[in-house]
């Protein structure tokens, strides 16, 4: 994406709502605890040696180290992007720990032998790792700091030929698949943060759905940052072979800390002929306190390639966490008759900033894309939506529908939209709708009059506003997301 060509800035609200917003405090962040566990960490700082050490730690084949080093050398030539509508304090990349792993007893595979402290940590996060306790139908890869702790239901999935494991394991066990696809959607030269990730990524999830298989479980990765001063750089790769289907979930949390922590992930998805991947994220990183202190910097590159004809990639995200979010899950619709979808709810409260949106690149004929974005800004939050719909010359009969809505609470926040359209083919049909609204005092009073207090009224109204997106989430996730939306705005109405 380039510099904004158009910007619509909406600030402020009227006095009637102001009364409702006399105090802006945040509901407690539920997952702010820290697990005290022995950690195997590198010293702070980044150079080629650190990258070699990561590769050695992971027991990686030569091609992976080469990939990392190429990325690192390229990264040294890059500058942090400045085009986003964000105020990002200077980040000292030498003041970050690039590898931190909870100490595991060596070579143990059985869950019984994972440190009970870690099991307890994930249990506290609502992610039990013992299979009999897990929500039926969800397989989990649990990642803490730089490594994957445990992947559940691996064996069950293997019977169908589904590979679901940590990225480190995939690099060792399925090097051909990894070599073929890693960097094929997000090349190591792609952007500052993706390039950094390519150099130092530590773990993440790998998933391969073979031809004709409809994955019977939701696959999910749960990311947890634990150690102080570490950056988390995970990398996820999902490959859906011909005629396959998978629904993938991602969740994330971090302890409450006064200093900011960096999270720069890369997610790549590839769908072959007739395949479909549904990727859902509920992002609940620590957003900082009500004065804007602390919180995660979330600079993430997520991109899917609809490589095969009639394939489909759908992104759904609920963004409540992070101090700063910089994230544009995108689809490259290369095959004919492909479909790309992006559904997003992004909340910024207190001093949170989000610049998020999507890119839909139409290359294949008859490719369709849908973009639905619901931004909610409260407190001093700054919420930007940015989209690019691009139709190349040979892409006949493409369609796009874009709807971006903004909801403002209070008069200190801002909502901004930056839609870009580049169309080189006359047969394309594009629609764009945008609205800006606020929660009306009359809506709240109407709810009050039916016995619903103001806090619940806000929750109801927000969830109603975001319903189109929440409906796209898998069931259990949708419930969690609804609660989260309400908690995120708790106290934002006085």
């Amino acid at each position: 994406m380039q510099m904004p060509s158009q910007s619509k800035i909406v600030q402020g609200m009227d006095a009637s709502q102001d009364k409702l917003l006399t105090q802006v405090t945040r509901g407690d962040y539920e997952f702010g605890f820290y697990t005290d566990i022995e950690t195997d960490s590198f010293a702070k700082g980044l150079d080629e040696n650190v990258i070699r050490q990561i590769s050695i730690k992971k027991n990686e084949p030569e091609f992976m180290l080469e990939f990392r080093l190429k990325a690192y050398r390229h990264w040294l030539t890059m500058k942090m992007p400045q085009w986003a509508h964000l105020t990002i304090p200077e980040i000292d990349y030498q003041n970050i720990i690039y590898y931190a792993a909870p100490q595991l007893k060596p070579g143990l595979n059985s869950l019984d032998e994972v440190d009970p402290e870690l099991l307890r940590t994930f249990e506290k996060l609502g992610i039990p790792l013992e299979e009999q306790k897990v929500l039926s139908g969800v397989a989990v890869d649990a990642v803490m700091d730089s490594i994957s702790i445990k992947t559940t239901f691996k064996e069950t999935l293997a019977e169908l030929g589904v590979i679901f494991c940590s990225m480190s394991e995939a690099i060792r066990e399925y090097p051909d698949l990894v070599k073929k696809y890693i960097g094929s959607v997000v090349p190591y030269t792609d952007n500052f943060f993706a390039t950094l990730n390519s150099a130092v990524f530590s773990d993440g999830s790998f998933c391969y759905i073979p031809k004709g298989v409809r994955c019977p479980m939701e696959l999910s990765t749960y990311f947890r940052i634990n150690t102080a001063n570490t950056g988390q750089f995970e990398r996820t790769l999902i490959i859906a072979d011909d005629d396959s289907y998978v629904s993938y979930l991602e969740g994330c949390t971090a302890p409450i800390r006064d200093e900011n922590q960096l999270h720069a992930a890369v997610v790549e998805i590839i769908t072959l002929d007739n395949a479909e991947v549904k990727y859902s994220t509920v992002q609940n990183w620590y957003p900082g306190d009500k004065n804007g202190k602390g919180g995660i910097y979330n600079f993430v590159t997520k991109r899917g390639l609809c490589k095969g004809d009639h394939s489909k990639i759908s992104w759904t995200q609920v963004e409540t966490g992070s101090a700063i979010t910089w994230k544009y899950p995108s689809c490259i619709l290369r095959g004919d008759h492909t479909t790309g979808e992006f559904y997003s709810v992004a909340i910024t409260n207190n001093y949170q900033q989000a610049d998020t949106g999507t890119k839909m690149i139409h290359i294949g004929k008859n490719s369709h894309s849908t973009i639905i974005s619901k931004g909610i800004a409260a407190g001093h939050g700054q919420n930007s939506f940015r989209s690019l719909v691009k139709v190349v010359k040979k892409a006949d009969k493409t369609r796009n529908f874009t709807q971006c809505d903004s909801l403002l609470m209070g008069d200190q926040c801002g909502a901004h939209t930056f839609p870009y359209i580049e169309v080189e083919n006359d047969s394309a049909v594009l629609e764009h709708e945008a609205t800006t609204s606020k929660i009306g005092e009359d809506q709240i009073f109407y709810c009050n009059q039916r016995g619903i207090d103001t806090e619940n009224a806000i929750g109801l109204i927000i969830n109603g506003y975001a319903r189109e997106v929440l409906n796209k989430l898998p069931m259990e996730f949708a419930m969690e997301a609804q609660k989260l939306l309400q908690i995120s705005l708790e106290g934002s109405v006085g």
Binding site: G440, D442, Q443, F445, Y446, C447, Q449, D453, Y465
Partner: protein, 248 residues
């Protein structure tokens, strides 16, 4: 049930109600009539606790409690219902979800468990039938894209669901054709019990052809200038509000 004594109220510093006295007992239906701008809706808003209405003098006693420092949701949970003149749209929130939330909030207040799905469904069906609300409507967002008649019917439906002790219907009849009005009136009549009361706020007499009030009050320039039995409504219809003006 409701006792209003010498109520003075202002909106944005402008005095609208200038000393209202009103006494409503259980089992009664009161009609408050008056020309536009006489303060009818302000009175309703003051009773319901809308914060734009500032009470400068006098008091409102509801079931023995002074409403002065009670927030609107607590008044509602204690059985006070306001049927809105202009029902508010809440996009994306279905009537089902809205009513379920409201009912459970009311139950929580009374120390009851949340309503079970089957019980709720039964209640919905029963009350829908009572007010002739199409079941398709209850799956739609609250008041969004509703016709004027549908909005008003939805208010009566909510009243039926919440079974208030005191219902104030603010111009529920305005903008309704005769069939819709009959349905609204029918709902009010069916919900009438010896232990509840209704205040109908209306500009026209025609609603009172279908709901027979025990008392009719005429509100004029912020004061109740005339109170009498149901025959007052007919007299008003015949002579118009100018008659009141002359009388006063």
């Amino acid at each position: 049930m409701l006792e209003i004594k010498n109520l003075h109220a202002s909106i944005e510093g402008k005095e609208i109600l200038k000393g209202i006295d009103l006494h409503v007992k259980a089992g009664e239906i009161h009609a408050i009539m008056g020309p536009n701008g006489s303060g009818k809706s302000t009175l309703a808003a003051a009773i319901a606790g809308r914060d734009i209405v500032e009470i400068t003098e006098g008091e409102i006693i509801y079931i023995g409690e002074n409403l002065k420092d009670m927030n609107p949701e607590e008044r509602a949970r204690k059985g006070l219902f306001l049927g809105f003149q202009y029902p508010v749209e809440i996009p994306g929130v279905s009537i089902v979800n809205f009513m379920k939330t409201a009912i459970n909030e009311n139950r929580k207040f009374k120390g009851l468990e949340p309503i079970s799905a089957s019980e709720f469904l039964k209640l919905m069906n029963e009350k829908q039938e009572l007010v002739g609300l199409h079941s398709k409507l209850t799956n739609r967002s609250v008041n969004e894209g509703f016709s004027g008649g549908e909005k008003k019917r939805n208010e009566i439906f909510q009243m039926a669901m919440l079974e208030p002790l005191l219902a104030i219907l603010d111009e529920t009849d305005s903008g309704l054709d005769i069939d819709a009005m009959k349905i609204v009136a029918n709902g009010v009549n069916k919900l009438k019990r010896s232990d509840n009361a209704t205040i109908l706020i209306t500009h026209y007499q025609r609603l009172l052809d279908f709901v027979i009030p025990d008392f009719v009050h005429v509100l004029y320039k912020g004061r109740i200038v005339k109170s009498s039995g149901k025959e007052l409504a007919l007299e008003l219809e015949e002579k118009g509000y100018e008659w009141i003006e002359e009388e006063v």
